[in-house]
Symmetry: C2
Subunit: 453 residues, 2 copies
């Protein structure tokens, strides 16, 4: 039902391409979706990919190119002349994809490719789109859409839609604008099909319509489309003129990237990388957080160092350092992750005040703290037969679970209040801080119990 | 442009509802989207919500209800008679939403509500849908769709579409079936608008069409729709008969939940919870992983315990326990997160063999290890003036970074190979294992250096 790329298929295809048996290649790629073709191109060497590409029907090839990862596409386009890029690729794409592809080229090659575009409308669309920031609604939108004037009658309207829809792949909705080009509403195709031809657009259109401004951040666009279950959203300028539209498929990518970014931050990875990236890129993304952890470890060592004589007299206190540090880290990550997620999907509600969240964290901390420190008390009491140790470890654990949870909830809430990405607070930052704090608390309580400094 | 719920607005609304000023309520809710209404209902007390609900136009109220969280909706529906649920709510909903709402009711109330549904077609649609597992394509799909017979001409086709589209809110696409009801392809509305009325469906329809089987897992449905940028996907039975269709808005929720689940697992939260859930539910989701961490801490204490005399003679070795444990945990979380994400978004490619990924992890581990252990060596060498300690800590750190990274990459790859959710490997499990392993390695190397056991 859908294509699964296998080693065997790839070998067959490469053999057919190499021996230049057009019929065999076309047979193998029959019914493939651009995404499938992109998957093949990704697995081929540059030579193989180039040879294969020139067997592809132009539209399929161009659409597949859009689906490639940026670095793969870049290497590929370097091998193709500006004239072919304009004529065989850009020519087949919608303005948003075309602008994305051209935007990745070097400045000189951009100008060359644009000068080779035959369709003046398309060229001007692309030049418009290249001006918008890629992380804004303008960077996501396509210029192709179907719009009608609010004063037209249905017959004119349908004639116009027929004309306009030839260059729009998925129509979704028909926008209604006034003489100034200002967006006034929409007509669903359903209403259009059901309406009498003598009626006017203004009689049957829907005025309510959610739109975004062209400079809206793309994550906000994604949130609005997700919240209101939209498949397509119109983009307007400052005075409400219709500029383009964004479809859900482009926004799904934004959502995916956003979710991955938060997950990676929580895991201590500072750049948006993939496991298929090179070892060097991966190292660069991972080393910074390791250095934070290293610094935290050094600070912990300084704290423990001040209790050197206590460790010499009561070495058993050292046994539970990993337990205290690990539990502080775990609790902090849990509570910060919940708050970060609550902020991200807006589920904290109106009561998202710091105090409500804190009160809850206090309750959770109490229960978890009592259970865990109870267990460790019984363990030490019965197995090590050392009452002081049992008291020290369980008291410290109780305090660490309690404070680490509160700390983990407070930091993202505060960051969010000051418009800093709360996801920064999850992962290594919280873990490291709680490690240091937990170690200090543990030895300080031990000091109070044993009276050694 | 879109609604923002404020405390002030809510107070105004509640006052208007309480004093029963219909006109004022309607003025306040003018232009609101069901999602906005759901947000209001969530913030109100049960009493307020009930009073407000009966001011709402039926369709808006029913659609808002669908947008509520399951627990809020359940409490709400308990207050409403089965007859009103059937007549005022179910009657306004598409079959998929209606089945979801009914599916949450108790067995007895389900039967009552279904018996009160006037529209026999709708009732039978809902009963059909209730049979499917909620995590399958069948559980996601709606029965409402527009379909035409492959043998019809365009005129009949358009007449039929007009009729059918009255009960389908967003048409998206027109499906083509044969006399057996087997899905044969689709006609885009665009092609339909452009075609001559005398042509036949079979002349202009597109045979290529990606569909899913009714028992396909909903995460797989989400993957397919995301991969192929689909807005709607048809659902078929074993022999290919068209049963229903799934739209992207329902799938976006699946994707969101999936991403949140992985993120929560990585943060040591075992159930799908939200920060707005009760302290008790949050504790239940968090305690299991804390107990795993506790067990790990106890095991670490046992390992350190065997080196008691070494700690007494060289207490400085205890200072770096948190550093070694934390770094092992951090590295493990990083490498496992990357692999889990690579598996989830299928970006490891054909070469997703364990060996390629391992080789890369070895390289990353070497660079990170050399940098971090180099820094800690210099720190200890110059500031503590203790050569043995400097060697012990830096060697142990190098080994821990190296092995923790490999371990973090291998475990999710292995889990995935044996069809276990690799996300299980991120977070506390990896952290805890690497804590224990790191502690052991550190003291063992210390033992080799100092010769004390």
């Amino acid at each position: 039902m859908h294509f699964e790329l296998t080693k065997e298929y790839l070998d067959n295809l490469n053999a057919a391409v190499e021996s230049n048996v057009e019929a065999k290649v076309l047979e193998l790629i029959e019914g493939l979706h651009p995404v499938d073709v992109a998957e093949i191109l990704k697995e081929q060497s540059l030579e193989e990919a180039k040879a294969f590409y020139f067997h592809l029907p132009e539209e399929l090839g161009a659409d597949a190119l859009v689906e490639l990862d940026e670095d793969v596409r870049e290497r590929f386009l370097n091998e193709i002349s500006s004239k072919d890029i304009a004529g065989k690729i850009i020519n087949q794409l919608d303005s948003d994809d075309a602008a994305d592809v051209i935007g990745e080229l070097s400045g000189k090659k951009q100008d060359e490719v644009i000068s080779h575009i035959q369709d003046i409308d398309k060229a001007s669309h692309i030049i418009d789109l290249l001006h918008y920031h890629e992380d804004s609604a303008g960077g996501l939108m396509a210029k192709e859409l179907v719009k009608v004037n609010i004063d037209w009658d249905i017959a004119t309207c349908i004639k116009e839609i027929r004309k306009q829809s030839e260059e729009v792949e998925n129509m979704f909705t028909v926008y209604v604008v006034d003489d100034m080009g200002i967006l006034r509403g929409r007509i669903s195709l359903k209403n259009l099909i059901l309406a009498k031809e003598s009626k006017k657009v203004k009689d049957i259109y829907t005025a309510e319509l959610i739109s975004v401004k062209v400079d809206t951040d793309n994550e906000e666009v994604a949130q609005i489309m997700e919240k209101y279950d939209l498949v397509v959203i119109p983009v307007v300028d400052e005075i409400g003129r219709l500029l383009g539209r964004i479809t859900i498929d482009d926004v799904v990518d934004v959502m995916r990237e956003e979710a991955e970014k938060d997950y990676q931050m929580a895991s201590g990875i500072s750049e948006n990388v993939e496991s298929s990236d090179s070892a060097w890129i991966l190292t660069r993304a991972r080393l910074p957080w390791l250095l934070v952890g290293l610094l935290g470890g050094i600070m912990s060592s300084k704290i423990i160092g001040t209790y050197e004589s206590q460790i010499q007299i009561h070495p058993e206190t050292a046994f539970f350092i990993p337990l205290i540090a690990a539990m502080g880290g775990n609790v902090g990550v849990q509570s910060s992750a919940l708050v970060v997620q609550g902020i991200a999907n807006n589920s904290l509600g109106l009561k998202k005040g710091i105090w409500t969240q804190l009160l809850k964290e206090i309750n959770v901390g109490l229960i978890n703290g009592i259970v865990c420190s109870g267990i460790i008390f019984l363990f030490n009491f019965f197995f090590s037969d050392n009452f002081s140790l049992a008291i020290t470890v369980s008291t410290a654990l109780m305090s660490v679970i309690f404070f680490a949870g509160i700390f983990g909830a407070i930091v993202p809430l505060l960051l969010n209040k000051y418009k800093i990405d709360p996801a920064l607070a999850t992962g290594p930052f919280i873990t490291t801080t709680n490690d240091i704090f937990g170690t200090f608390l543990y030895f300080y309580i031990g000091h109070l119990m044993y009276g050694v400094a």
